[in-house]
């Protein structure tokens, strides 16, 4: 079962184990430059607000009601990352897709887990996901674009602008396996900051597209595959809507637009690198590697979808390693 608590999705499996509790929230962040260079991890600028689509039944598109789930507001070309935490170290296998395209492999959506090639993340080994896994150790940032404009991964790989949004399914570890293995403290983390206003044009329904390149590893499953409880899962469809649509649906304002990477870096604010020792990184999806970035596609179309795309040279980089204390946030000094 999934509940919404303080703008966080809380997956619980009380029938499996009372400790089986997974939190996922969606962090606002800088859009890193889409310039072919590889950047460190940008900060977290707070959670996107989340609302049940059912609470606004009369004002949301019919297919959103059909999908169920929740919704959040994004500006065009705004970026996000997913923040995972498992408060008791309880392991989860989590599949993430955008527009029903798997963010790790680039394949079409399937509810079931696949071990080779691995099409899921393991939490808490993987504390964050910032984008599409395009190569070992490299992702392309999740960037919001209007569905129908041709930029989203879904449109690039399927030639259809049908689903949009972001999809999640989580599987807990089997209770016996958890009892046999665990009991230690949790580690999870990350990053906070500020925001600032600018204006962006509206679109009715958003999808995610590949943005700039970032150093982030997607870790190989460290557990035997049969320790996942594949008989129990919870799914959630996260709808993305632009800020004007959000206001029309909910009556409340979307958060203001974050800093640009240039402003943030000029102020000397921190970027991040994250390391986990003893865990292999996945190779990345060939299909995803072939998808074009928003900037590349924009140039082909004669469009300028990323008006603020100046290259930056982050000098203040904070290194984080697995082993952070519970509640510690990936943030810098201001």
């Amino acid at each position: 079962m999934i509940e919404l608590q303080s703008d966080s999705l809380v997956f619980t499996f009380p029938d499996i184990h009372r400790a089986a509790k997974l939190h996922i929230d969606f962090q606002r962040t800088l859009r890193i430059p889409d310039d072919g260079r590889e950047y460190p991890l940008p900060p977290g600028l707070g959670r996107f607000p989340l609302r049940h689509v059912d609470d606004f039944g009369a004002r949301v598109p019919g297919r959103w009601i059909q999908h169920g789930g929740v919704m959040l507001p994004m500006y065009q070309s705004e970026a996000l990352w997913l923040n995972f935490s498992s408060w008791s170290d309880y392991p989860f296998a989590v599949k993430i897709a955008t527009g029903l395209i798997n963010a790790v492999t680039g394949k079409g959506w399937e509810n079931e887990l696949q071990r080779r090639p691995q099409d899921y993340l393991v939490v808490p080994t993987q504390p964050w996901l910032d984008g599409y896994c395009v190569k070992k150790g490299i992702i392309r940032q999740f960037v919001a674009m209007p569905l129908g404009a041709g930029y989203t991964v879904e449109e690039q790989l399927t030639d259809a602008a049908e689903h949009g949004g972001l999809q999640i399914v989580a599987y807990p570890m089997k209770a016996e396996a958890f009892e046999d293995r665990f009991g230690g403290p949790a580690y999870f983390a990350r990053r906070d900051a500020l925001c600032q206003l600018s204006s962006l044009r509206p679109a009715p329904d958003m999808g995610l597209a590949p943005g700039g390149r970032m150093r982030q590893e997607i870790y190989d499953d460290p557990f035997p595959f049969d320790e996942w409880d594949t008989g129990h899962r919870s799914r959630c469809f996260v709808h993305l809507c632009n800020s004007l649509t959000w206001r029309a649906i909910t009556g409340s304002e979307a958060p203001t637009v974050p800093f640009t990477s240039e402003e943030y870096t000029r102020l000397g604010l921190p970027w991040f690198e994250y390391y986990v020792e003893g865990v292999e990184a996945l190779e990345g999806g060939d299909v995803l590697a072939g998808a074009k970035s928003v900037k590349e596609l924009g140039e082909e179309k004669g469009d300028n979808p990323l008006p603020e795309n100046v290259s930056v040279d982050p000098t203040h980089i904070v290194e984080l390693r697995k082993g952070l204390k519970e509640g510690q946030v990936r943030e810098g000094r201001f």
């Binding site: 999934i2 509940e3 999908h67 959630c236």
Partner: protein, 117 residues
């Protein structure tokens, strides 16, 4: 009749033992009704009063207005309006939850629903 009168009389008397301002006359005064009418309501000689009076009474007696309305055989106009907007959906929800324990109902209220995709 329906237990509403007995319930509010017992509650008012319980409060009056500690505080004289909960006498029949003074509570009626605060509600803007005649003491004789409140007395008849408490003895269940007449039908329960209007929704507005019941909600005010709930506040005076520190009770949940929805509970008092239910005892009086009424549903708040706010809830009626909610159901009226989506009668089919809420009709299904209420029937589905009719026999569910409180904990299960609370869980359903905030659970994120999965649909078809």
């Amino acid at each position: 009749m329906n237990g509403f009168g007995t319930f509010i009389r017992d509650r008012r008397e319980e409060l009056r033992r500690e505080d004289a301002s909960f006498s029949l006359r003074k509570v009626a005064e605060r509600l803007g009704i005649e003491p004789s009418y409140l007395s008849k309501v408490e003895r269940e000689e007449v039908a329960p009063p209007s929704e507005r009076t019941i909600v005010n009474l709930a506040e005076i007696l520190d009770q949940d207005p929805d509970v008092l309305l239910a005892l009086a055989g009424k549903v708040s106009s706010e809830l009626v309006e909610i159901i009226r907007k989506r009668p089919r959906l809420f009709g299904e929800v209420l029937r589905e939850l009719r026999e569910a324990p409180d904990q299960a109902v609370l869980r359903v209220v905030r659970e994120v629903r999965d649909g078809e995709w």
